[in-house]
């Protein structure tokens, strides 16, 4: 059974050349071509494609918005972004919107058919230059998240338990009940935590614990 494909692209020439290309391989069947994404949900509903080829720059609803709409309605649909843009912003937004692949138009031809087949086997075709951007985004996110996590406060296991309970909003009394220790023991632990984190109130503890993800 052939792979059903829908094409969204505002450029008629590109649409036609893609159709020509895909028709040379019996593995593909173009079931719909659309010049805008205004009615993409209905278009997909009626043409029932396995794979959607999506341009980004289009009049009206842009490709990224369309991806959001489509993945919301059809969570398992495979969407391959094909565009001339390769800025971080659009790459990131497309992925977050739910695209399964992202390839550049300047290297379509041979790779497009491979890319579609990869989509069907659970892969995510990506142009190497796009992949580089994706990696950079991930690495940056990692740094932003993990950077302040370095400082070591030498909290004991018990103190971390208490700390977690505090961050979860429990009162001293509740913490004592949860950990099967007395109210005063909870206080003892918390005093120690205050010392080690160099703070003097629960609010500061919570802020510090979350921001430096100690919990």
């Amino acid at each position: 059974m052939s792979i059903r494909i829908a094409i969204f692209d505002d450029n008629k020439n590109i649409r036609n050349s893609i159709i020509l290309l895909l028709n040379t391989d019996p593995a593909f069947e173009v079931v719909g071509t659309f010049s805008d994404a205004q009615h993409c949900v209905e278009n997909v509903l009626t043409s029932r494609p396995d794979v959607v080829l999506m341009d980004i720059e289009m009049p009206g609803v842009n490709g990224i918005e369309a991806v959001k709409l489509l993945t919301k309605e059809f969570p398992h649909i495979q969407i391959l972004i094909q565009t001339v843009f390769e800025d971080d912003e659009r790459v990131f937004d497309s992925i977050c919107a739910g695209a399964s692949g992202y390839i550049l138009k300047n290297q379509l031809n041979s790779s497009l058919t491979d890319a579609i087949k990869e989509l069907q086997t659970g892969g995510s075709p990506m142009s190497p230059s796009i992949a580089r951007r994706v990696l950079n985004i991930l690495q940056q996110g990692y740094q932003n998240k993990k950077q302040p996590a370095n400082e070591e406060y030498n909290l004991t296991a018990r103190e971390k338990e208490v700390l977690t309970a505090i961050v979860n909003g429990l009162s001293y009394k509740m913490i004592g009940y949860e950990l099967n220790i007395s109210y005063e023991t909870v206080r003892s632990h918390i005093k120690k935590i205050y010392e080690k984190l160099h703070v003097a109130s629960l609010t500061e503890v919570v802020a510090k614990a979350i921001n430096q993800n100690i919990v």
Copy 2:
């Protein structure tokens, strides 16, 4: 000028077959092969490769640790992970450690040479199945980060000021002083905030404010 390549892999057969493969193309020059990453920094220092092929599973220092060490010492080095593993954990760690590409061993051969060339032109070769995982990681990170940020609590500008002060660890008295309002007014605002955030203590406010980045 040919691309200088260093290989880290504990399997002698794999090392040899990679060398054989790369030697068929004059664009490549293997300048070092190492069975472990114990002395990877020195190895790279002496062999001066443009591209490092790195296995993950190795005795002693594993490939991900090696990537961290190498990118720390040589920030501009290109490291291509080649492994049989494709679990989220290792993919994520490798990228965060600073790898520029990640391909699976079961599809080396033809693609390895292409991958190395892509690295040199600023691309990040990735096996499609790896790329899928990377996209999933990004999408999840996005959801975790952005999802809880949507809820609108209808805090007024003043309430947000008070909230920020709370998160910064100020006491009611200090907040009053900072905002030039009375202690009791601060309390009034905080009571309102409790209502709107559906909480009943400062610790909960701080945790909620930070986690849902209201501040």
